[in-house]
């Protein structure tokens, strides 16, 4: 009896060790095949949003890929910690903060001119470290049952008005809000930014963890409005067509409609820089750009592809150059400034 149970334990233990090894062999689906080159891609975008494009790249070029998805900031820290031994060839970042962090650490290999020239100067690094592949726009999401669209503000700066007291949800600990504040600092200076933050704090703006939480809260009417990225509500509407939340884009190139760029760069430690650049070119090609417009509902940044329906054209969106180098350097002080304003509560 005891022998049997010990035997069973041994079998379980063996299986436990054998299965993942087999599993690992099975999941290596990105391999190039035929001894080709395999790129290692670290992506702050979720797998669902990037794998289809990478699969097309492999089909067309025969260059394989391995994908590690995770939070942009976590992956940036990982690359930093890996140092010279980093296996990563390409980093795709969802967050300007994470891009700025690696740019500051000198981890990117400058991209060739032909890649940089594919996007507007506002959507690429001034020193050629990275290039934007798609964009998300900051927006004010509101509940159509609670808010009359005619009363919506013309500018994000108006949200400190007492009329909006307690009505506008924010996520001050979230990367995209922090990036927005950094952009505001570049645009308006520290003094006016701090003043705006204090105004939002004085207005008792409800605080949420992230974009998803705000869109959910606005959808169920817990709070009438919230500052988020446009993409989240598009997603929420896809899952529940009856949802009451609607995106509002601040008009006339207002800072509130800031474009946050999903950036990509080749790492200095890449062992296949040519193939890595090939992948960046592919991400900027019309096919991929169309995918970002149609499938992920983002703003394409290259090849003249227009954004999806119901989205204002890129030219009407604030395309103000947010220098990521400044952003990266500003990161720490931006967080501090947000804290000092008392807006986090």
């Amino acid at each position: 009896m005891r022998t049997v149970s010990r035997l069973r334990s041994a079998v379980v233990a063996l299986l436990a060790i054998a299965i993942p090894l087999v599993g690992a062999a099975c999941t290596d689906e990105g391999g190039g095949g035929g001894g080709g080159i395999t790129l290692t891609v670290y992506s702050g975008r979720t797998e669902e949003l990037i794998r289809p494009v990478l699969d097309r790249f492999r089909e067309q070029t025969g260059i394989g890929y391995e994908l590690k998805s995770g939070d942009s900031a976590d992956l940036a820290l990982l690359i930093d910690q890996e140092g010279d031994r980093s296996p990563a060839d390409v980093f795709i970042s969802q967050s300007p903060g994470a891009t700025g962090f690696l740019e500051q650490a000198g981890r990117f290999r400058p991209l060739p001119e032909d890649i940089l020239d594919r996007v507007a100067p506002a959507h690429r690094s001034p020193n050629g470290s990275w290039v934007g592949i798609s964009g998300r726009v900051r927006t004010l999401v509101y509940n159509k049952n609670l808010v009359d669209p005619a009363t919506l503000p013309r500018s994000v700066l108006d949200l400190t008005d007492p009329a909006y007291r307690g009505k506008v949800a924010i996520a001050p600990q979230n990367g995209s809000f922090q990036d927005f504040v950094s952009a505001m600092r570049v645009e308006l200076g520290d003094e006016r930014t701090a003043e705006w933050l204090r105004g939002m704090a004085a207005n008792q703006s409800p605080v949420y963890a992230n974009n998803t939480a705000i869109v959910a809260a606005v959808g169920r009417g817990e709070v009438p409005m919230g500052l988020v990225n446009h993409y989240y509500n598009v997603r929420a509407q896809a899952e529940d067509p009856n949802v009451a939340s609607v995106n509002y884009f601040f008009p006339d190139g207002d800072l509130g409609s800031l474009l946050l760029v999903t950036a990509t760069g080749v790492l200095r430690t890449s062992s296949h820089p040519q193939e890595a650049e090939e992948l960046v070119r592919f991400l900027l090609a019309e096919e991929s750009q169309r995918y970002f417009a149609d499938q992920t509902k983002e703003y394409p940044l290259a090849a003249g592809v227009p954004p999806g329906p119901n989205l204002p054209p890129l030219s009407s969106i604030e395309a103000n150059t947010v220098n990521f180098e400044v952003l990266g350097a500003a990161f720490r002080s931006t967080i501090q400034m947000i804290k000092d304003s008392g807006v986090e509560r």
Partner: protein
């Protein structure tokens, strides 16, 4: 191993015990045996050395933080003195104390009801009670908000009845509620295991002497279960200070949340993490000092457990069980099912197709199961020497290795992962392990070893020394005694420890995202992907599979074993 004890020669009487008739042997042995620890005068240095080596392995994250702090030339002192450290730290401690007390009460009460009372459907509840542990706190908190926040599902459900508004769920209250409900199994599992192996004779005697059940619980059961309650409570405490998912969603500014929000600024986040490690080491040391004063009664496996008829309290007891398991397990399950169902009802709404393909979740499910099982078995076995040493031979080495093993649990998974990246890549010999399954399993073991060591300790303490002594007197060697006498007696406790590590590893996210080989996905990483993409249908589906899978594994590993007693 040729100690006098092993050849059965009693040093003081000069008699060879084996030469004596059986009846005298026991009596003589009983009379002349000096107080412990007599055993292992030769064995303990070896165990001590092994424990120390294990302790060093577990020191990887803390050691990394010390080295990083030094390399960053971080101003550790000004970080420590800053109110930006103390305020979040005091919130962390407030939350952790509140959560561990609540979880201790819930876990102990539930364990007693399900092992000692005649509450209806005990076997079912025993299967369900540990499961909330497998719900990742970011999923649990999201589901709770969707269900209970103002305008949430419950309010919509109650709106025809005219209920106005749910109270806002956030801050300390929200974090406390979510964490208590998802961590009580840390107390429930070891206490239930302890009660299962506690001889009923104690409680029976107390009852025969006229004590009422409540008095028996207070004077007999509680003291006997104390070490298990403390063990579990400590785990809850450490989990609560290391948690990010729940405090983030509930917007409660703990130290861990501070570490996360400043992580791209290592000069701030690394010293803050060091503070967290120091707090953990201090708490472990304090708990150990307290545990010294607790007495253990050794246990044997009984054939028939004691059962207290609840009488007219039976309905109330059932209601309590239903409320706890209902809130901690059914509520999130209902929300997950609602998301999954809503997504299935609205397929293909134009964005990325709603991947509700179950087949795509098979590989992640297999991966999750196998790495977590491996981690559970390795953890329980690896920390055994440390547990043995801490229980049997109190020494500074025991205390130190124990503290190092336990402290790994208080650090966020992100820190543990970055530490292992640092150590693996800093040596030519270890580089090959980078981004392999064995390293991922090791990360789980380092992160969750605390759960195994506490369970191992409870298990070791439950083994009657007299049995070991008897086996030794009969000439059995140390290893044989350990395998044939002690391990079988420890099994319920070891299974509980393995169960804890298993359920924790199944939901682990940050270390898995960073350390798993590229392309290796688990259910937790699928959950993260779906949640990040605001893809609730898939969060629902994946979450349900994670819970179902953990139910099966918990039953196989933990519950079935305990049920043999029924």
């Amino acid at each position: 191993m040729a100690s006098s004890a092993d050849v059965g020669l009693d040093v003081r009487t000069g008699l060879n015990v084996r030469d004596l008739p059986e009846a005298t042997r026991g009596g003589l042995d009983h009379r002349v045996e000096p107080p412990r620890p007599r055993s292992g005068r030769l064995g303990s240095p070896l165990i001590a050395l092994v424990s120390l080596a294990i302790g060093v392995l577990f020191a990887a994250p803390t050691g990394y933080l010390v080295i990083r702090s030094a390399a960053l030339d971080a101003d550790v002192w000004s970080t420590l003195r800053s109110p930006r450290t103390w305020e979040p730290l005091s919130r962390s401690l407030t939350l952790a104390v509140a959560v561990s007390v609540t979880a201790a009460v819930i876990g102990t009460g539930l364990a007693w009801l399900l092992t000692r009372s005649d509450v209806p459907a005990r076997r079912l509840w025993r299967l369900l009670a540990p499961l909330p542990l497998v719900i990742p706190s970011f999923v649990g908190a999201t589901a709770f908000l969707a269900a209970l926040a103002p305008g949430g599902l419950l309010e919509q459900l109650l709106s025809p009845l005219g209920l106005v508004r749910m109270p806002e769920l956030s801050g300390l209250t929200g974090a406390w509620l979510v964490l208590s409900l998802f961590t009580y199994p840390y107390v429930y599992l070891p206490v239930a295991a302890r009660l299962a192996s506690l001889p009923p004779s104690l409680e029976e005697s107390a009852r025969l002497l006229g004590r009422r059940p409540v008095a028996v619980f207070r004077t007999v059961v509680l003291p006997q279960a104390a070490s298990a309650i403390w063990a579990g409570g400590l785990l809850v405490f450490l989990y609560a200070i290391s948690d990010f998912g729940a405090v983030e969603l509930m917007r409660y500014g703990t130290l861990t949340r501070e570490i996360f929000s400043t992580r791209l600024d290592p000069a701030t986040s690394v010293p803050l993490s060091l503070v967290l490690a120091a707090v953990a080491l201090t708490v472990v040391a304090l708990e150990r000092t307290a545990s010294r004063r607790r007495a253990h009664t050794e246990s044997v496996r009984q054939k028939r457990p004691l059962q207290v008829p609840l009488g007219r309290w039976r309905g109330l007891a059932l209601a309590a069980v239903v409320v706890v398991v209902g809130l901690a397990l059914f509520a999130p399950v209902v929300v997950l099912a609602y998301w999954a169902g809503r997504g299935l009802a609205n397929p293909g709404s134009g964005t990325v197709e709603l991947t509700t393909d179950l087949g795509a979740l098979v590989a992640p499910a297999v991966n999750t199961m196998s790495v977590s099982l491996a981690a559970a078995l390795v953890a329980v076995a690896l920390v055994m020497p440390v547990a043995y040493l801490t229980v049997r031979h109190r020494s500074w080495i025991a205390g130190l290795s124990n503290a190092l093993v336990v402290a790994g649990f208080a650090l966020p998974g992100l820190v543990v992962a970055l530490a292992l990246v640092f150590w693996t890549l800093s040596s030519d010999a270890l580089v090959r392990l980078y981004q392999t399954i064995p390293l991922l399993v090791f990360a789980y073991v380092v992160h969750f070893g605390a759960q195994a060591v506490r369970a191992d300790q409870v298990a070791v303490a439950a083994v009657p020394r007299r049995l070991d002594d008897a086996a030794r007197v009969l000439g059995a060697g140390r290893i044989r005694r350990f395998l044939t006498v002690e391990v079988p007696l420890m099994l319920p406790g070891l299974a509980a420890g393995a169960g804890l590590v298993l359920l924790s590893a199944m939901k682990e996210l940050p270390a898995t995202l960073l350390l798993a080989p590229p392309g290796f996905s688990t259910l937790a990483t699928r959950l993260w992907n779906a949640n990040e993409s605001n893809h609730f249908a898939q969060v629902g589906l994946t979450g349900l599979i994670l819970i179902a899978l953990s139910a099966v594994l918990t039953w196989l590993l933990v519950v079935r074993r305990a049920d043999k007693l029924d």
